[in-house]
Subunit: 335 residues, 2 copies
Amino acid sequence: MSSTATYQQIVLASRPQGRVSPGNFRLERVPVPALQDGQVLVRNHYLSLDPYMRMRMEDVKSYAAPQELNAVMVGGTVGEIIESKNSRYKPGDFVAGGFGWSEMGVSDGAGLRRLDPARIPLSAYLGAVGMPGMTAWYGLTQVIGPKAGETVVVSAASGAVGSVVGQLAKLRGCRVVGIAGGREKCAYVVNELGFDACVDYKAGHLLEDLRAAAPDGVDGLFENVGGEGLDACLGLMNPFGRIALCGLIAAYDGEPTVLKNVRMLLTMRLSLRGFIISEHMEFWPQGLAELGDLVAAGKLKYRESIAQGLRSAPEALIGLLRGRNFGKQLVKLVD
Amino acid sequence: MSSTATYQQIVLASRPQGRVSPGNFRLERVPVPALQDGQVLVRNHYLSLDPYMRMRMEDVKSYAAPQELNAVMVGGTVGEIIESKNSRYKPGDFVAGGFGWSEMGVSDGAGLRRLDPARIPLSAYLGAVGMPGMTAWYGLTQVIGPKAGETVVVSAASGAVGSVVGQLAKLRGCRVVGIAGGREKCAYVVNELGFDACVDYKAGHLLEDLRAAAPDGVDGLFENVGGEGLDACLGLMNPFGRIALCGLIAAYDGEPTVLKNVRMLLTMRLSLRGFIISEHMEFWPQGLAELGDLVAAGKLKYRESIAQGLRSAPEALIGLLRGRNFGKQLVKLVD
């Protein structure tokens, strides 16, 4: 690799005031660094775009330090090793890493996960067999703990996390109700993913539709969105219901979620827990084994929205925050 | 006991529309029934008034069936057996029972708890060594699980539940901050009960005062009240904080609690659990043993507001819902 070779990356140029705009980002071209002993150079094939990125763009007290200004935007990636001075990896190996919004990355091997694209499509390691899949697996099995016959509601049901939550809950014998935006997504959730029902929050009668879709009430809620949907579900919870709070995407880029059905938390003796999957790494081997087997066997379906080229990432993230994606949002970084 | 003897009881005459009023209750005089084999007749000495009664007066979906109209108002009592056809009890024995707003009660012995007024004052069995004490014990030890050095916030801190929560948390090495209404209650909470600080929510700068009283943030919140205090505490929670949701008294008789700091539940990975102490009877022997020992040894302090005579119960309950009581609210039923 010549020292004059370059690649592109995107940094955070400014923090959003209100909604994210393309001007919050800046595309840069930087030289490919020379490798030190023990290092590998990775050409990233796919970048994962995820709602948590919105929260990291702000300078507020949260579970992670805010994204630094003028630093490469955070993000999960999968790619191919194209140069190696590390005895454990050779060119042609595929790995998952956290190289951010960048066409290339350098690593000493720490935090890399070796992939098997002959068994599972490379991009799935950023979705159903990656962080979103593990988020679904952990929240469902460790926070909700569903029993056969119970009703589980999942918001953002056609998305990378929600689609896995619902399919795993169906495999565990639950009645599964999704919430999604628009008839097309709802049809996909029921017809392709096999949910029992899906409520279109854009149709304008969310509470009535939810009540009809969950006639026995709600035992488990996997919440990705917040906003009115969360409040409506709260009002339908059964005694001893469990709520896995995974995201509040409705509030990341707009109005904060306000809860009115607070009384249900007491009267129904509900449990609610917020969680961040990166703090529960001890569950990843078990969860990824189940998820990988299901994807390899064709029993866990997923859908992807793929933007082409790093330059498209800002608009793709903005679309994700508006619910314009359909399934896991990725950016393809190679032709 | 002559069959023409009578006693008084109070029934629910109508459900409150908005705030509770004296007209929602009706005092009745009824004949003392003749005992069947196995039964005892109890003269109640004290009736306990508790916030949960407000919720039971409404006909809404909740953890318990609503209080029936024209039936004796629910409530815990302590009293003396004055007649017995049950071999396990004799006149002069003291028992706790759930005879409601009534001067007397008949029982076959099921649900009675034998008391030892020589060791512990009779009225304390309705407070620190009764249901409120157990509510405090369970929520603190089983929901919050405080560690020495952590900060625990308790609302309604001078009340029957809150006062026990704070003293138990102090015994476990926590920094304890109370919230109470008015300077007199706050002074009592700090000077008599030994809390580290107490914030007066009526002073008009709750959030600032809470922040000053909990400079290291809040690890455990025992919530009895709801309303602005809950939202303010949410904003100060530390990562992995635990919230025991025990009551929403602010909303029982007025405006529902609205939560705005919902995002903290996610970003701080908080756990929140609503609970009802009567569903955790398996913990009562352990909890009452600790509470009884502490009260008998003078290490657990409490304060009582005692209304005189059954007729005073409606106004006393209304006062409790407005925070006019100071400590455990009781009604004394004997001269």
